[in-house]
Symmetry: C2
Subunit: 340 residues, 2 copies
């Protein structure tokens, strides 16, 4: 029928805001009385009917109020919610905490997830940045006892990997250090693929170490990043889960199985800025009643991670988008500043 006029858009905006706040279907009287719309309830009902025909509103049942549909939320997010930015003092507080924290990628991810979860009272996921191609910075061999050494590998981005290595014959620490020095000449600054191309060294022990190293590196690149999850309790405290025992279990199962890529699939990280997946736009079955706000950070090519917020479709989108945007930007800045 008729397009979405200004007044209708205004009514949709009111319904989204009121519903997000109260979690109860919104009626024409509330819109009239509480928001002072210059039209009678009857007129507003007309408009609501039109919005429903457009697929932007839904009725839980005849004669309850209206509730935004997924498409309604989509329209709200795209053109109705307006400027999404955090107030300056809030930014400053967050920023301050990052500068207080230890300069560690994992530490920052923890902090960001905690802040995001507490700020919205919802579920926050933050993936610490992982580089595609691991590059060895330095390597060390430490003898633990006569038959066991610890191989410590420092990567370019200041991450540290380690692996126990059994020794066939007893080594003194001095010998191990010499061996480590030889190995360093060979491997430092190299990536896994480069290592694989090099000819194998003559010395058997040396060769074993190189193989072990290559093994650690491949295993590490294959491993999913340990995504930080915060705010499960807050999420489950949302009124939508009060009755919905099934949905509650679904969410907990996702977190429990660390199936974070079902929540934030790689594809959704394609774009540059913040993107929002609303209700049935989510690929995962368990998230049909939820929305995900996500932003990648880091340089797309090499080191990259993401900040994500998960809540019921009835979430505070403006605040969510603003917080996710600010945190992802801040994480990128911190990375540049300290590593980079």
């Amino acid at each position: 029928m008729a397009a979405v006029t200004d007044r209708r858009a205004g009514i949709l905006r009111i319904i989204v805001r009121e519903y997000v706040e109260t979690a109860a279907p919104v009626g024409s009287r509330t819109i009239h009385d509480k928001y002072g719309v210059p039209a009678s309830p009857a007129t507003i009902r007309h408009e609501m009917q039109a919005l429903e025909e457009e697929g932007l509103l839904e009725q839980p049942h005849t004669s309850a109020g209206r509730v935004p549909s997924d498409r309604g939320y989509r329209m709200y997010v795209e053109s109705l919610m307006g400027q999404a930015d955090l107030p300056g003092d809030e930014k400053a507080t967050i920023r301050h905490q990052f500068f207080q924290a230890a300069p560690e990628l994992d530490e920052w991810a923890d902090l960001a997830a905690g802040l995001l979860a507490r700020s919205l009272g919802l579920l926050a996921l933050v993936s610490p940045p992982r580089s595609r191609e691991l590059q060895v910075k330095h390597l060390e061999l430490i003898g633990l006892n006569e038959i066991l050494a610890l191989l410590v590998v420092v990567l370019r981005e200041a991450r540290v990997l380690k692996q126990l290595v059994p020794l066939d014959s007893p080594f003194e620490q001095a010998e191990l250090s010499v061996l480590a020095a030889r190995l360093n000449e060979r491997v430092s600054g190299r990536t896994v693929t480069e290592l694989r191309r090099e000819p194998a060294p003559d010395d058997a022990t040396e060769q074993r170490m190189i193989e072990t190293l290559a093994g650690i590196l491949s295993e590490e690149s294959a491993r999913e990043a340990a995504v930080r999850v915060e705010g499960v309790a807050g999420m489950l405290g949302q009124p939508e889960f009060q009755r919905d025992h099934r949905g509650m279990l679904d969410i907990v199962s996702l977190v429990d199985q660390r199936a974070t890529d079902r929540v934030v699939p790689r594809e959704s990280l394609g774009g540059a800025g913040v993107s929002v997946m609303i209700g049935d736009e989510n690929p995962a079955d368990e998230l049909q009643q939820c929305s995900v706000v996500v932003a990648p950070y880091g340089d797309r090519a090499d080191m990259s991670g993401y900040v994500a917020l998960v809540g019921p479709t009835r979430m505070r989108y403006a605040r969510g988008v603003a917080t996710v945007r600010y945190l992802s930007g801040l994480l990128e800045e911190m990375m540049d500043r300290v590593y980079g």
Copy 2:
């Protein structure tokens, strides 16, 4: 009144087992028909009345069946449930998986938590072992760029800590290595307290590094061990939480806040073997409806961790105790074998 006769104990055992299996109050008829007790339902009712007077059974309401009380479970665990040991093939399967896994304390903790949670369908907590007094094995300085170095510290138990250190003046990697060598002479084999007692070195940079090192070590000993938690979903799937939205949130909150010491307080780790805390025996308010089966492992004095199982009081105690005991023993064995 009368003591707990053999027949009464038998009936208590049946009630515990039946209730654990079905999660529904157990009536006299079920005990008679399903378990073939050689007494009529009326007699069994008499006995149940006596058990209730002893405080071992409870009635949810007049004329439902009986349910074990916390004290009833206590008696079951102590004298009725009998031999708690895993079948040999199950032990072998578990053992096999440990030998397959990477020889890492954290890895083992992950594995143990996963196995325990899946085996019982309940919540499992495994704390990787932490030593009281951290002892430095080796230290390394790696220059990341002109003004930033990474201090890598290897501890005796093959754990690795790291910290970024800003440099006041530019250093070559060669200089850093020399510095590291000097530092190693000074610190390797020392504990934090020993380090604190040493006189400060003359060289300013060297002194800065020692301070940084001491800082890392104290921070690390202060930090709670990162306890592995598995099986939240399984736990919440238990019938007791079907209706109890509040209890569900309580459990999730505990996990969410990583308040593992509320679940497994240090005191409960006093004893040597497996200990069981049933219902109101738990100090935490949130766990009044739950039981905790826990066993420490490692040498009490130095490196120690624990294996814990959390479920509703209606849990399979025999299996729980057996699994916790086997896993804690196995973890201790693995530790001895590889580190030790």
